[in-house]
Symmetry: none
Subunit: 217 residues, 2 copies
């Protein structure tokens, strides 16, 4: 299972860390500030106090076990940039870094960040879309209340048709498609029945999906 | 056409304002800081320098013409709260306010904000979703063979339930949601029946959608 590292547990970093854990993935959460560690340690499973500009400390914290690391250090741009470089040097495959402004973001791209995020700017854009939007898919994609999910077909569903399973009424999820071998069956008919190895894609409210996953996945 | 007001042109507020304008809606952009006004006036059409804690100044700026106002003042929580109260008092129908933390957000709800946003926390959540999820919609949106469509409900469908209409079997399209008044019904149950003015969103193969549209739309 993919492991994530989050460095910097301010509002953005803490939210990234708790939400990744909520979705069932292990998170290594790091911050240099003792008070922050105290405040967040009941909210996260693995919290370590360490200075992310100290390569040895990062290594000892176990950062190399992470597939993806998110650098969420804020005000201190130099620390943010240095931590990003060190994490990339330690061989982390995918590094996401938060930028304070465009110039900072350009530097982060140059030094190897695989993805640069601008939380305030990007949330401003999605809010503008929400306030002016007439598209349901925009709404689903940017609303944390609904979700698009992909999962291996539960053993109990194999051999049963969508009509019999009646998922939209029983679990309030709608099946958009089935991935079978290398193919996508988009908008399957209700006669379609699941086969072993099928992966199905569905949408629904996040809490309904959680209930469904708990039961079958 | 709906008019928007944005008060506070920091990273979040400026992004909200420019993105709403980009989508074709008029924006009244307000900030009290002369340096900020200088920096943003080439990026926005209507920028006014005003102190949003001054009710008269707000009125003179023309805030009452706005259908929706977004309060994006940051550090200064009291200014943010007061501006929210004044804007609500001036009769603005829908007020969105940015909160710095949970306590601040609770106060904003109590004093009448219709929507409270936490940009860093919310962007953290959507990043966590992006990093841990896989998306069929990307596939549908980039494949010329399948399509995502939105259409006014055909007259023949009004009063009929999704179960009776049996669209996935008859026309090979799957209904993802229904837009009704200002609401989205995502993943509707098969008992849901269409009402006049409904707009529904569906996916399917491009040729099946073409057949369907030819018949009903
Ligand atoms: N060298 C470092 N190593 C580890 N953590 C660090 C380091 N420097 C700063 N941090 C931590 O990064 C966190 C986020 O930084 P800060 O609060 O300055 O950013 P912010 O932009 O205000 O955050 P947010 O907007 O996400 O609330 C802080 O908790 C801080 O202790
Ligand atoms: N009373 C006021 N009236 C109008 N504008 C104000 C008032 N007080 C503050 N502002 C403006 O609100 C803007 C945003 O505030 P600030 O920069 O403190 O928030 P921030 O949280 O750092 O912003 P962001 O994270 O969006 O960059 C500033 O440009 C500031 O000039």
């Amino acid at each position: 299972k993919k492991t994530f590292g989050v460095i910097g547990l301010g509002r953005f970093g803490l939210s990234v860390a708790t939400n990744i854990e909520k979705r069932g993935f292990p998170v290594l959460a790091i911050d240099s500030d003792k008070e922050i560690i105290e405040r967040v340690k009941d909210k996260l499973l693995h919290v370590i106090q360490a200075d992310a500009t100290d390569e040895l400390a990062l290594d000892e914290a176990g950062i190399k076990n992470c597939d993806t690391v998110i650098i969420a250090i804020g005000d201190n741009k130099e620390h943010n940039i240095l931590a990003t470089m060190l994490v990339k040097n330690l061989g982390i495959r995918y590094v996401v870094a938060k930028a304070v402004d465009e110039l900072h973001g350009k530097i982060l791209e140059k030094i190897g960040a695989d993805l640069v995020v601008y939380p305030e700017k990007e949330r401003g854009e999605t809010l503008a879309i929400q306030l002016t939007s007439t598209s349901l898919i925009d709404f689903i994609e940017i609303s944390p209340e609904y979700n698009l999910e992909e999962a291996k077909v539960p053993r109990e569903f194999i051999g049963k048709s969508l009509r019999d399973l009646d998922l939209s009424n029983k679990y309030k999820i709608i099946v958009l498609g089935i991935k079978r071998d290398e193919d996508f069956i988009v908008a399957p008919s209700s006669e379609e029945s699941f086969r072993p190895e099928d992966v199905f894609v569905f949408i629904g409210r996040t809490k309904d999906i959680a209930k469904f996953s708990e039961k079958f996945i």
